[in-house]
């Protein structure tokens, strides 16, 4: 039998909202502090303490909801999600059950096709609700128990739940990239997966193509990067397809991704039988959100990735794809615009960032925000190319030196004598030497073989150690060797 299957994927993203204090108490929400330093009677769940909502948290959540085209609820309440696990000392988590901050939105995701062609796909957002984060358990190397650090307990989280609209692991990856971009543009979160300020769980099932009913879904957890989400989903789709083809039934369960083994495995724990018994949180009063408040926040929204993408195309004349790459990461887009501020040519800058700069950064596993070559310095190099001080070829050698030494392009050019040769006399002499040494190519060119010109230009470049202006060599050679 040759049934074709499709996968049905929905994602749950937990994003830590960027506030100074926790969601329900005045403890610091900072990462990397001494164990249990940021705790108080409220987040430790001591009797007699009462939670009070941080107003900034609700504001940030509404911002995200609006940017994701959601309906913002006029009335909001919090609920208790009951479970016993030492990561929360109260034996319940304050979350939102049936009255979340935002619901029924969508996110437009760019799906990359062949040859870098981008097509749009609209992914539904089911809801976004607020909750408190849990503490951190440490097990490793501890024989007689587990250690608990409650610094993270009570840190504000927004859980963003997508509709099961994603059809491939690649689409899931792109959804995460687009979502992260929006969150970065809104400046509502650090979006740092390593520090846990962005986490993603995935729900996935498969069904035969043409089927409209959903298959049994499996939840996968424990992915620590967007690529890991993609890999875990690809693995899971394969596993489920194989199971279904051999007549097995898919069990609804939670599976964990093992990064080093590149596979998912069943949790097989009692957690499966969860019964959270949600009920309204009696310690927090309900909230009503005035439509004027929503309007005010709407007006304060910054330029979002899609708008910036369009602007990069119209203002800087960049291609659809180049503009997309530069705007899909806010810091990258900021870097680009900082170069333009420094009077660098937009198209050259776009090329240089995407090819040379990103290659160097990726090789050194450095984030664009930590680039040793600052935008001002890259702009300096690009200006030198633009005004013919250095050739593009030499510039490619200068950039790694800038990386290494953190000196400006101007300084390096001066120190190493890399100024482009535009002296016609010097260039003509070099051209003559090349013509004398390459009789075969010269006659080919004269006979009309234009490819020979490129070779000869290359030889002159070599002769001048890459410092010649290729345009000038071209002119000189064409003049000296007219096609007969």
């Amino acid at each position: 039998m040759n049934t074709q299957y499709e996968s049905v994927i929905g994602l749950e993203v937990h994003v830590q909202l960027k506030t100074k204090s926790k969601i329900f108490c005045a403890c610091s929400a900072a990462f990397g502090c001494e164990a249990n330093e940021n705790t108080c009677p409220v987040c430790l769940g001591l009797p007699g303490s009462l939670p009070v909502l941080n107003e900034k948290v609700l504001e940030l959540a509404i911002k995200v909801g609006l940017a994701l085209n959601c309906r913002i609820s006029e009335r909001i309440k919090f609920d208790r999600k009951n479970y016993f696990y030492p990561d929360l000392p109260k034996a319940y988590q304050i979350s939102q059950y049936d009255m979340p901050v935002a619901s029924k939105g969508f996110l437009v995701v760019e799906i990359k096709g062949d040859g870098g062609v981008l097509t749009e796909k609209r992914i539904g957002i089911t809801r976004a609700h607020l909750e408190e984060d849990a503490g951190k358990l440490l097990h490793e190397g501890i024989k007689d128990g587990s250690w608990v650090d409650y610094n993270r307990a009570g840190v504000p989280l927004l859980e963003i739940v997508s509709e099961p609209d994603l059809r491939t692991p690649e689409e899931a990856f792109q959804y995460l990239v687009s979502l992260k971009a929006i969150l970065q543009y809104l400046e509502v979160s650090d979006c740092n997966m390593e520090e846990g300020s962005l986490r993603c769980d995935a729900n996935v099932s498969i069904r035969s193509i043409g089927e409209t009913k959903l298959g049994t879904k499996v939840e996968i957890k424990n992915m620590n990067s967007f690529r890991a989400v993609q890999k875990a989903l690809a693995y899971e789709v394969k596993r489920q397809t194989k199971a279904v083809e051999s007549g097995e039934k898919i069990i609804q369960e939670t599976r964990l991704w093992n990064e080093s083994k590149s596979e998912t495995f069943s949790m097989r724990s009692k957690e499966q039988a969860h019964d959270y018994r949600y009920f309204p949180e009696p310690d927090l009063v309900p909230f009503s959100v005035a439509s004027e408040k929503i309007e005010t926040i709407k007006k304060s929204l910054p330029e979002l990735p899609k708008a910036r993408w369009d602007r990069f195309k119209t203002r800087y004349g960049l291609s659809d794809y180049d503009a997309y790459v530069l705007t899909s990461d806010k810091i990258l887009g900021d870097y680009f615009e900082a170069c333009i501020q420094e009077k660098a040519d937009p198209k050259l800058t776009s090329n240089w960032i995407q090819s040379e700069l990103l290659a160097l950064l990726n090789a050194g596993k450095i984030a664009i925000g930590d680039s040793p070559v600052k935008a001002k310095d890259l702009a300096g190099l690009i200006r030198l190319i633009g005004n013919n001080t250095v050739s593009g070829k030499i510039a490619k050698e200068i950039l790694p030196m800038m990386f290494e030494t953190r000196k400006s392009a101007e300084t390096i050019v001066k120190e190493k004598g890399l100024v482009q040769v535009t002296d016609l006399k010097v260039l003509e002499e070099a051209a003559d030497r090349v013509i004398r040494a390459n009789a075969k190519s010269v006659s080919d060119l004269k006979a009309g073989k234009k490819q020979a010109l490129g070779f000869l230009v290359g030889q002159v470049m070599k002769e001048t150690k890459g410092k010649a202006n290729p345009k000038l060599i071209n002119e000189i050679l064409t003049q000296k060797l007219p096609i007969q």
């Binding site: 108490c25 403890c27 430790l44 909502l53 107003e55 609700l58 587990s146 724990s269 009696p282």
Partner: protein, 96 residues
């Protein structure tokens, strides 16, 4: 044995270790509570807003300001078990 709930499962969920006679007594109580709720459910409530809170108060916020509580040492001092600055609990990770 009630048809509507499993007293043993409920006890496990809330971590209560019930003796057989306690189980029987609580089952009877719960039956009565559920019967009362059933009675409430016959009321017409289509036009009534659900009551999640009895007080007419809403929108109680605090500003996003950090105020260190400095209670760590006094809380850890009374924790059943500790290890330096950490709370210590029975091993919770499940073998897979």
């Amino acid at each position: 044995m009630s048809q509507k709930f499993d007293i043993q499962q409920l006890a496990e969920l809330v971590r209560l270790n019930l003796k057989p006679d306690e189980r029987a007594k609580l089952s009877r109580d719960l039956e009565k509570i559920l019967a009362y709720v059933e009675q409430l459910q016959t009321l017409e409530t289509d036009q009534v807003q659900p009551t999640s809170h009895v007080l007419q108060i809403e929108n109680v916020f605090r500003k996003d300001i950090v105020k260190p509580s400095k209670v760590r040492e006094s809380v850890l001092k009374y924790a059943p078990k500790r290890s330096n600055q950490f709370f210590k609990v029975p091993k919770v990770i499940e073998e897979t």
